[in-house]
Amino acid sequence: MGRGSASSTPTSTLTWISWFCSLPGHEYFCEVTEDFIEDDFNLTGLNTMVPFWKEAMEMVLDVEPDEDASKIPDVSIVESSAEMLYGLVHQRFILTRVGLQAMAEKYESGVFGSCPRVYCVGCNVVPCGRSDVPGLDTVKLFCPNCNDIYVPPSSRFQGVDGAFFGTTFAHLFFQTYRELSPAPFWKAPSAGGSPLSPRSTSGSSSSRGSPFVNPNPHGGQKRAAGYVYVPRIYGFKVSERAKSGPRMHWLRLRPENPSELDMVDWRGRWIDEDDEYDDDEEDDDDDRQMEDFDPVI
């Protein structure tokens, strides 16, 4: 182990990790603590994924390489190995308490940007991957308000691997910081207020009235931005009967109160559907019979 030798970086004030995180396009990364990297347990399995493991470790930890470093054909190969190593360690680190904390600070300062969707009213987003395996897809941004993922606005993030953030982080983050997570229900602020006016979604509504509480203590504790866009032609709503009528309203819709969420069973069927939607009635009868076999809650 060459780790014992005194570490000296080219620019001694800047560690490799700080340097790496300050590169353009690397704004989403937080600095992984050295003791996390030095604990071999945290690196289990990674050595098979990273070529020139030892040299990459030395580079990331700013350790003087061994004398016989000549066997490495090119420094740039080690550099890309170091980047892969750091990225994969980063994926694991941001799931730890310290890592979540570091990302929370970045989140609150708006480093990750905000949701491009108009009616999420600037809700901050977090980086997320679509895969935990490197080399498949670039980093995306998850919005906790619309529960959807977006392409980062700047092309400089198109070189950043999504696996370096992983599939779990974004959601563990909002489970951990529930006060940052919008609740799954929403009621238009002024009862009877015209949903025509998008002004009703402005932040002022959250400051008014009693503090927001989600009865589900494990759920999001932030008041959601729940307005959903309604297309209009010359002021008239486009009818759903038109071929070009709305088909995706559901994607962004929230029920007015949390109890409505329980009206759908675990398979996504309405429990006890009656009156208004007679068309589905036969299906639902079958459904209810089936339901009896399932000891749901």
């Binding site: 959601h171 297309p231 032609i233 709305p246 088909r247 995706m248 559901w250």
Partner: protein, 276 residues
């Protein structure tokens, strides 16, 4: 006091409109036909919205006196932009305006949907209100049917009233064949590539218009075979997972949303069955 020579074809490249269209940040606007502007009927009521209306109109149509004072000219420029924007909002909901915007849509001049699962679907500009000075322009995605803010602040500061609340929805009403599929790759009609070449070349405007008319009549009113009743079932959505497991509260919300979707699909399919 009309100066005939400034309006002629030879000077076309330096007309106010082409200057306006080529300025940075104005990429969303299309060219309003001169005869549309010159028909006063189309401008009904705009004289109340725009100060120095007639001079602003003269500036747009390149009929402004050259000996006008410089300070007035700069304030006129602001009024002319407002006037052009308001005319533009009316123009893009006409048959010819729609087809001009369609060309731009096919070139993705308005950008592409930032939603990952919309697979780079081109966007269309839309206003949240038809009243000027209220809200900036937004972008409508025909795939997820939602609104996004323009990426660039240059575009983010354009008045939404210059595009109006109606435009993208009228476009898909008129061209049902262009309603984007809810899944699979983006397809933009047959001549998506061909539309690229026809940039603002004034001399050929007339001929191009005639060609567009043909194209419009081909696509317009078509799509009898289109059935979008169950289109939403094909829509892909993101499912958050922690170590591979769905997140309880979000999964619950998503099940509820999908049940709402299924209810609508049931409604629309029943309707479909009833109509021959």
């Amino acid at each position: 006091m009309e100066d005939i020579s400034t309006g002629s074809d030879s000077d076309y490249s330096s007309s106010w409109i082409s200057w306006f269209l080529s300025s940075k940040g104005n990429e969303y606007f299309c060219e309003v036909d001169e005869d549309f502007i010159l028909d006063r009927f189309n401008l009904t009521g705009l004289n109340n919205e725009v100060a120095n209306y007639s001079q602003a109109l003269d500036l747009i149509t390149d009929n402004l006196d050259d000996d006008i004072q410089d300070e007035l000219r700069s304030s006129l420029d602001v009024q002319a932009r407002l006037l052009y924007g308001l005319i533009h909002a009316r123009w893009i909901v006409t048959a010819r305006g729609l087809s001009k915007m369609l060309e731009k849509y096919k070139r993705a001049d308005f950008g592409r949907c930032p939603r990952v699962l919309c697979l780079q679907q081109p966007l269309l500009p839309v206003g949240l209100t038809d009243i000027p000075y209220e809200k900036s322009v937004k972008l409508y995605c025909g795939r997820c049917e939602d609104l996004y803010s323009p990426k660039s602040s240059r575009h983010g500061s354009i008045d939404g009233a210059y595009f109006g609340t109606t435009f993208p929805h009228l476009l898909f009403l008129v061209y049902p064949t262009l309603i984007p599929p809810k899944s699979g790759p983006v397809e933009l009609g047959r001549d998506a590539a061909g539309a690229g070449g026809a940039a603002a070349d004034g001399g050929r405007t007339r001929r191009r218009l005639r060609e567009e008319q043909v194209e419009v009549s081909a696509a317009e009113g078509g799509g009898e075979g289109i059935n979008t009743a169950s289109a939403a079932l094909k829509a892909d959505r993101y499912k958050p997972r922690i170590y591979g497991f769905q997140v309880n509260e979000i999964a619950k919300l998503q099940r509820w949303q999908e049940a709402v979707r299924d209810r609508q699909v049931g409604r629309l399919e029943a309707l479909e069955d009833r109509t021959p």
